[in-house]
Structure formats: structure tokens, C-alpha cells
């Protein structure tokens, strides 16, 4: 399967094009930092197992992208949105306002038969990005940590999905908590 990073701006109908282009650029910067080039493959696990070829053509002026933590985070958001829209039943991803940071929410699009205008938020999306994994901060450990945070399954917890992206070995994981 192929994924063009520039397509994010068209896929995310409830986010502005400018914002989506920003996320795409951050993702390209994170990928090229390793360095990966267009055509590299993201190994996906969790809800889906397989490989996705990532393509891009934008030449990013990297003078404005010096903060690794920031472009890793934003780059992970871009890829996570693609994974969420592709492998969950939801196709709305939007932000919420909290005091400590940003949450993303999943829901049904307005044209979906299950869309409820009085309850358009259905699940939370938690995103985690690693630029280069290390023994103490590895992709596998991050998945395990997220799983431990899940309370005992009793159907009273908030539906939540976790997405973890690791750029150096190009791994992506999306699963339900």
C-alpha cells in the first residue's frame, strides 16, 4: 500500500490545509533526519500488520525545523492520523482543549450513518513519537507501557486508541487500549 504524505491535507477535512501541510513537513523532516527517502516503508503492527510505502515530493526548508522533539511529535501525529483513519472505523480526528497538552478525538464523519451531532466524540487518540529508539526508550517498551496503563477491561473506560511511531527503524503501531 502507498501513502503520499502530501495527501494529509485532503484527508483531514476538519483541519485547515495550512495545519496539515505543517504536519506533513514535520513528518518529512523527521524521516529525512534519519535519513529516509521517499519510497521508504513503514512497518505497521497492531490493528493491522503490513507495510506501507511512504512517498513525498515536498522539499522542506529545514531552517525552521531545529527542535527534534517538536518535529518528532508533529511527524508522529501526521502518520498516526493516517493510521487512525485507515485502520479504525472513525474518520474524524480533531483536537480538544486541555490544560496540560493536546488530545485528539476520533468520531464518525458527518456523512457517516452512525454520526450523532449530539455525541460526535467517540474515542481518544493518544500519539507517541520516537525519533531514534534506544534500549531504554524502545518502540516495544513504549507499546508495553501504554498497555499497562489500560485499566482492567470492564467496558466503563473511555474508548481509546494508541498510536506509536518510531522513525529510525520506521515502525508504526496502532491498537485499541
Amino acid at each position: 500500500m502507498n501513502l503520499s504524505l502530501e495527501d494529509l491535507k485532503d484527508a483531514m477535512i476538519y483541519f485547515s490545509q495550512v495545519q496539515c501541510q505543517g504536519l506533513t513537513e514535520n513528518c518529512i523532516v523527521a524521516l529525512e533526519e534519519i535519513p529516509h527517502s521517499t519510497g521508504c516503508e513503514l512497518q505497521v503492527s497492531g490493528l493491522h500488520t503490513g507495510k506501507i510505502s511512504l512517498d513525498w515530493s515536498t522539499v522542506v526548508n529545514k531552517n525552521g525545523y531545529k527542535e527534534k522533539k517538536k518535529y518528532t511529535e508533529k511527524g508522529a501525529e501526521a502518520l498516526s492520523f493516517f493510521l487512525a483513519m485507515k485502520y479504525t472505523e472513525f474518520d474524524i480526528v480533531e483536537e480538544s482543549i486541555i490544560s496540560t497538552g493536546v488530545d485528539y478525538w476520533l468520531g464518525y464523519g458527518e456523512k457517516h450513518e452512525k454520526h450523532d451531532p449530539l455525541n460526535f466524540i467517540k474515542a481518544r487518540l493518544e500519539i507517541s513519537g520516537i525519533l531514534k529508539e534506544t534500549p531504554t526508550n524502545s518502540f516495544k517498551k513504549r507499546i508495553e507501557e501504554k498497555k499497562k496503563q489500560t485499566k482492567a477491561s470492564d467496558n466503563t473506560g473511555l474508548p481509546a486508541y494508541v498510536s506509536i511511531i518510531e522513525f529510525s527503524n520506521l515502525k508504526g503501531h496502532i491498537s485499541k487500549k
Binding site: Y14, E94, E95, S96, I97, I98, S99, W105, E110, D116, P117, L118, N119, F120, I121, K122, R124, K151, T156, G157, L158, A160
Partner: protein, 436 residues
């Protein structure tokens, strides 16, 4: 508007607010965060009785409560959290609501206000401490000393702002340079963002974006405004006055008159005769970073050189004199006369006039006229006008002109006014009648 559209618009405004906050544009930040709060609250309240709409209901209420908290509306934040908890929030959201409630109640019960705006002011503030020299008050402080200190410090800052404005802004770039200068100076006030009452300590800061200038917005003015407080801190508060290199640099930056106006109020505070001593400290008012020492003659001459009488026309000096006269028949003689350094008087206005335009107040309006350091000044908090002038007639004319000019500017610029500016315009409109 649908709930989701309201929420989306609120998120958009909140993000714009954050961007303004990051750029230290506080007034724009406050306006946007307030608008975001209003929208998110409206969205949440659509679901007030829809208890089955979870997680949407509690998420929206939590967002609205967060925005209320950021806007300083702590009571409203608590109310919104309570509304959310009356529904059936998921455990994760419930935990977050309770955490926000604890934070809000904690802040609300503190003796000082806490919000993003004050945090930002405190971040760039200077902590200054006053201590009584005698020690006889066992840590308490004399109120007139504090008043004296704050008045002189603010005077120095206003004079600094005026001097920098004259240095940096091209006269030709403004339609009415003198009016803009006076307006800018009067609005350049220091802010106290945190106080400690162990001795007297205060965080001093300034927020230049609070100043609105309807007819001034050149690039050089904007840059000058953004750098004003930092330069004041560097030149006036932190510099070593005895350092010859500093004296030389500041003499090149400001001429004798400007330096005198800036530094004289500070040198007054440092005088041996003062009953208190001043120091700049860390933000807990414990460790002293700089102590203000009594200035020697070299410092005085460098920073506040004595005016050369032959250079200044006598008719530009303003002195107030109090006289006691004895009259016997047709003969009058002065028994006692003294120059007054400080004078204040209330004036009652029924209306005012400028350039053939008249305003009538619905009820008598009282303004306080103050004379200090050779200037008259009026600070009118109700109509947010601050003016100063060397002449008694001049100050009243300037007040009238500023009032009417401002009124006209707000009416003609109504669409672009902020929430606070709109409230001010309502104040003008509701309390006066005009004849144009």
C-alpha cells in the same frame, strides 16, 4: 451554529490565543481566549441535560472549564466542572475534571491571583525589595515610603518611555507627534504582578501591548514598544551607575534633559536621607542581586546633570508657589512663600469642548489633577485617559482634546475593537451626550 462547529471554532481560537501568548501579545491572547471560552461554553451547554451524550458532553465541559480557568474566571470554571460531573463522565475524564477542580479551587483560595497573564508578567519582572533603614518596625514598612518609592519608579519609567519614543520614532511618520508622545507616555505604567509583605517586595513588570494607539502603528514604534521594558531594566535598574563605561554609553543614548528626567526620580530614591533602602532580589525576595547605594556627585552629574539656567528659557519652567499674604487696607505683603513639589486637586466637570465639538456628562464627572516634578497630570480611570502638561490651561485643553479624539476614534473603528475597548466605548456612550 451546530455544536461541533462551535467547538471547532473554539479550538481554532484557543490555538490562535496560544500563538499570541507565545509572542507575548497579552491583550490579543486575553481577547482570543475569552472568545474561545464563550464558544466552548455555548457548545457544552447545548448538552446540559443530554447525560447520555458521553464522552462528548464531559469533554466539552472540561474544555470550557479549562478555558474559563485560563481566562481567570475561576467561579465559572468550577461551575462548568460541576455540570460535567453531574453527568456520567468516563473515569478518565472524571479524573481530569477532578484534577482541574482541585487546581481551580486551590488557585481561587490563594491570596494572590494566578493565571497565564500574571505568569508571563512575573517571568520578565524585576523583584524589588524595600527595607526600613531603622529596623524599628521589625519588618513592617511605612506606607508613605512605599508610595514614594512606587511613584518615583513609575515616573522614571514614564520618562524613559518618553525619551525612547523621541529617540526611535520619526516625527514625520505620525500625523500628530506630540499628541502620540503624550498618549504613549501617559500609558507607560509599570505593573506590580506579585507582592511579598516580608518587608515590602514587589515584582515590577510592564505590558506594552496594553497600550492602544488608534493612529500610531509604524514598524519602528512597534519595535520600540516591544523593547521598552527590557531596555528600562537594563539601563535604569540593573546598570552599575558608578561604571564609567555605562555613564558614557547612557550619555550618548540620552541627552542631559532626558537623562535627568529618567534618573532623577531614581537618584531621589537612593538618597541617604531616605528612610528605606532598595534592592533587586531573586523572585523569592531572599537573595540580593543589586543594592541601590546613595549616589556620589560623579554619578549625579553624569545621570542627572544640573540644568544650565542660561540654556532653559524661564518661561518653560513650571513652579507652583504657595503664598501667605497679609492685607492691611490697600497694602498687601507676602509673609511666606514656598515652592510646592506636589499638589493635587479634584475638578468637577459637567462637560468639555475641543475643536468645536462638545460633550456633556450625564452626571458630574470628577477628575484628579496632580502637580509633580514640574508637570500637571490627569489619570482618569473611568475613561482611561492619562495626560500630562507643564501648563495648567494646557493640561485641561489636552484632557478635553484626548477625550474627544479618543471617542471619535473608537466610534469610527468600532468593528475592530477588542472586548475591553467595546466596553470602554459603551462607557463613553452611556455616560455622555455629544453634539456631533
Amino acid at each position: 451554529m451546530k455544536i461541533q462547529e462551535l467547538h471547532r471554532e473554539a479550538v481554532k481560537l484557543a490555538k490562535e490565543a496560544q500563538s499570541e501568548f507565545d509572542n507575548e501579545n497579552i491583550i490579543e491572547y486575553q481577547n482570543l481566549i475569552l472568545k474561545a471560552y464563550e464558544l466552548e461554553k455555548t457548545a457544552a451547554e447545548f448538552l446540559k441535560t443530554n447525560f447520555e451524550s458521553e464522552p462528548t458532553r464531559s469533554v466539552l465541559y472540561r474544555s470550557a472549564a479549562t478555558l474559563a480557568f485560563k481566562s481567570g474566571k475561576h467561579t465559572e470554571a468550577i461551575d462548568l466542572i460541576t455540570q460535567a460531573l453531574q453527568g456520567n463522565p468516563f473515569n478518565e475524564i472524571k479524573a481530569e475534571l477532578l484534577h482541574l477542580l482541585k487546581e481551580t479551587v486551590g488557585v481561587k483560595s490563594q491570596s494572590f491571583k494566578k493565571n497565564d497573564y500574571l505568569d508571563l508578567l512575573n517571568k520578565k519582572a524585576v523583584s524589588i525589595k524595600l527595607e526600613e533603614k531603622t529596623g524599628k518596625y521589625a519588618g513592617a514598612f511605612v506606607i508613605p515610603h512605599v508610595v514614594d518609592f512606587l511613584r518615583n519608579l513609575n515616573q522614571s519609567y514614564q520618562n524613559y518611555a518618553e525619551a525612547l519614543f523621541v529617540n526611535e520614532v520619526d516625527k514625520e511618520s505620525l500625523p500628530d507627534f506630540e499628541h502620540s508622545l503624550s498618549d504613549f507616555k501617559s500609558k507607560s505604567n509599570l505593573l506590580g504582578s506579585h507582592t511579598s509583605f516580608n518587608s515590602f517586595g514587589i515584582n515590577i513588570s510592564a505590558e506594552n501591548s496594553l497600550m492602544d494607539h488608534f493612529n500610531v502603528y509604524t514598524k519602528e514604534f512597534k519595535e520600540m514598544k516591544e523593547n521598552l521594558f527590557n531596555e528600562f531594566k537594563s539601563d535604569v535598574l540593573y546598570s552599575d551607575y558608578e561604571d564609567l563605561a555605562f555613564q558614557e554609553r547612557i550619555s550618548k543614548k540620552f541627552d542631559d534633559e532626558k537623562r535627568r528626567k529618567i534618573f532623577q526620580p531614581i537618584l531621589n530614591l537612593m538618597a541617604k536621607s531616605k528612610g528605606y533602602k532598595i534592592s533587586i532580589t531573586d523572585n523569592e525576595f531572599k537573595e540580593k542581586i543589586k543594592e541601590f547605594k546613595a549616589p556620589n556627585n560623579t554619578v549625579r552629574q553624569a545621570l542627572a546633570p544640573v540644568e544650565k539656567k542660561e540654556e532653559i528659557p524661564v518661561d518653560l519652567e513650571t513652579n507652583l508657589t504657595r503664598k501667605i499674604e497679609q492685607s492691611t487696607g490697600n497694602k498687601t505683603k507676602t509673609i511666606f512663600a514656598e515652592n510646592i513639589q506636589y499638589f493635587e486637586q479634584n475638578y468637577t466637570l459637567t462637560g468639555l469642548e475641543s475643536e468645536n465639538k462638545r460633550i456633556y456628562f450625564n452626571e458630574h464627572h470628577i477628575i484628579l489633577l496632580i502637580f509633580q516634578n514640574n508637570y500637571y497630570s490627569i489619570d482618569d480611570d473611568i475613561y482611561q485617559i492619562s495626560v500630562s502638561n507643564k501648563d495648567f490651561d494646557g493640561i485641561l485643553e489636552l484632557y478635553n482634546k484626548t477625550f474627544i479624539t479618543r471617542f471619535i476614534a473608537m466610534i469610527s473603528n468600532k468593528k475592530n475593537l477588542s472586548v475591553e475597548e467595546n466596553e470602554l466605548l459603551e462607557q463613553y456612550q452611556n455616560t455622555t451626550m455629544r453634539d456631533w
